[in-house]
Point group: C2
Chain length 284, copies 2
């Protein structure tokens, strides 16, 4: 069926509006072009699609049939195009509560300063994202991720307020908050390794667990207690003087933040955002 699609579009518009002139206006072309298109269609299909009356055109029976189909067909396509376009205009990020609250949201102000016309929509929560257009920033096993997807390898250290962290060698037990993931497939927080590395012992501490890093960090702030957690998440608090990093060096973990579905989402805005995020996390 060799009919030209622009001709079908012209027909669809003319059929819907009941006028070649109106269709021409809608399509930003001349009424002559519409007339040519429809004549062309009629010749190729070998049917008259409109009955011409003075100052108006009326669909014939085959015309009506085709009008219904083109109208529906182009509508379907157009809806998808608009959906893609709409989703492209705003950046959607799905991530964990901890990363959102402690890394992403506090930095977002700077992103808007750099790209004032962007709209970023951040969703946190563990539920798997079904939206085709969301970037998923997730915490996972470093070994399982493709190199290109990894944003940053996670390092851990002990944090507290100034007074507490200088008293680590005290005899009285100190409370340490840390994280035990709900998802057991995830590599553990390297508290044991960190203690071993620094010749420390569990016995000096009372270790308490949350299933999200955010909670431990907040609890430590509230109680002036310690928290063993990611350097990424504490950076802003350390800068603000609310937390102090222990005198011991941080330890590498088997964890990383990565972008789950990177290559399915290459829009210009997403690429920009991913780049910015990479830069943000590298600033150590």
């Amino acid at each position: 069926m060799q009919v030209s699609l622009p001709a079908l579009k012209a027909f669809e518009s003319a059929a819907r509006l009941g006028s070649f002139k109106a269709a021409a206006a809608e399509l930003s072309i001349s009424p002559t072009a519409v007339s040519h298109h429809i004549t062309n269609l009629e010749q190729r299909l070998n049917v008259s699609l409109f009955r011409r009356e003075t100052r108006k055109v009326i669909l014939t029976a085959p015309g009506r049939e085709l009008a219904v189909a083109t109208s529906q067909g182009f509508q379907t396509i157009n809806t998808a195009l608009e959906d893609i376009s709409r989703n492209d205009k705003q950046i959607k990020v799905a991530t964990t509560s901890s990363f959102a609250a402690l890394a992403l949201l506090p930095a977002l102000q700077r992103y808007y300063e750099q790209y004032p016309h962007s709209k970023v929509n951040i969703t946190s929560g563990e539920e798997i994202n079904t939206d085709h257009f969301s970037l998923s920033v997730r915490l996972g096993a470093l070994a399982e991720q493709a190199d290109g997807d990894v944003l940053i390898r996670e390092r851990f250290n002990l944090y507290g307020n100034a007074r507490l962290t200088t008293q680590l060698d005290q005899t009285s037990p100190i409370t340490i908050y840390t994280t035990r993931w709900k998802n057991s497939a995830l590599p553990e927080v390297p508290l044991q390794a960190w203690l071993n590395h620094n010749d420390l012992s569990y016995r000096q501490f009372e270790v308490r667990y949350f299933d999200q890093e955010l909670f431990g960090i907040q609890q430590a702030l509230l109680e002036n207690a310690c928290v063993f957690c990611s350097t990424t998440l504490t950076r802003d608090y350390v800068k603000a003087g609310l937390l102090t990093e222990s005198g011991y060096p941080p330890i590498d973990s088997a964890l990383c933040y990565y972008i789950e579905n990177k290559d399915s989402l290459i829009t210009r805005h997403n690429v920009m955002f991913i780049e910015w995020l990479g830069e943000l996390l590298k600033q150590h």
Copy 2:
């Protein structure tokens, strides 16, 4: 959303076939053209639609979304185009049993001689036709039809075999078959007027009724009786010597054959057929 429709078509094909090369073959264009189209689409939409891997392309998430929509949309349009095309290739005529059996079907052989590549499909019956593409040849009130739709005004006369029609003035009653329409809105067969006009009286005849002219004509043939009916329907039988027209002149009726939905069905084949039908019926 200013994307080119040929580009969308190329995308649809490539998405469905999973290959630019295959899409190119399907569309009878070069693979280069497909590549250009898709690059163009991706730039305008600002999303990557395919992930390129060696020797194959894989849809991204937005690509999949668009593919579903384009596939469905073009399918809808294409189905309608094919339907129109298919219906255009054959001429469909819906008419009464009488007209089909006595006028149309016997003459069809000559139509095929004139237009050997035509396919004519004739449906008879009283049920109203729902097919958008059928020509309806119907018997109706002359006064109610637009001039352009009328094929022929119906005239009536008495028919029988040679012996019977010469004996009309006999004293013994003669049987006359004629028609009383099921549809009471239709003007009556002008038997009374014909009798009056020729100074004849009902008393000379035994009048019997069928609801279709065809039945009366066939009964007259079988019984060597008379039938008062349309000149259009008897023409072939008269020519063949099976029926003889009475010595009295035919009478005009308020009936006509007309084409019900003429201007909704202007395909080239239909136009040809309508013209031929007009000529056929004019030959008196």
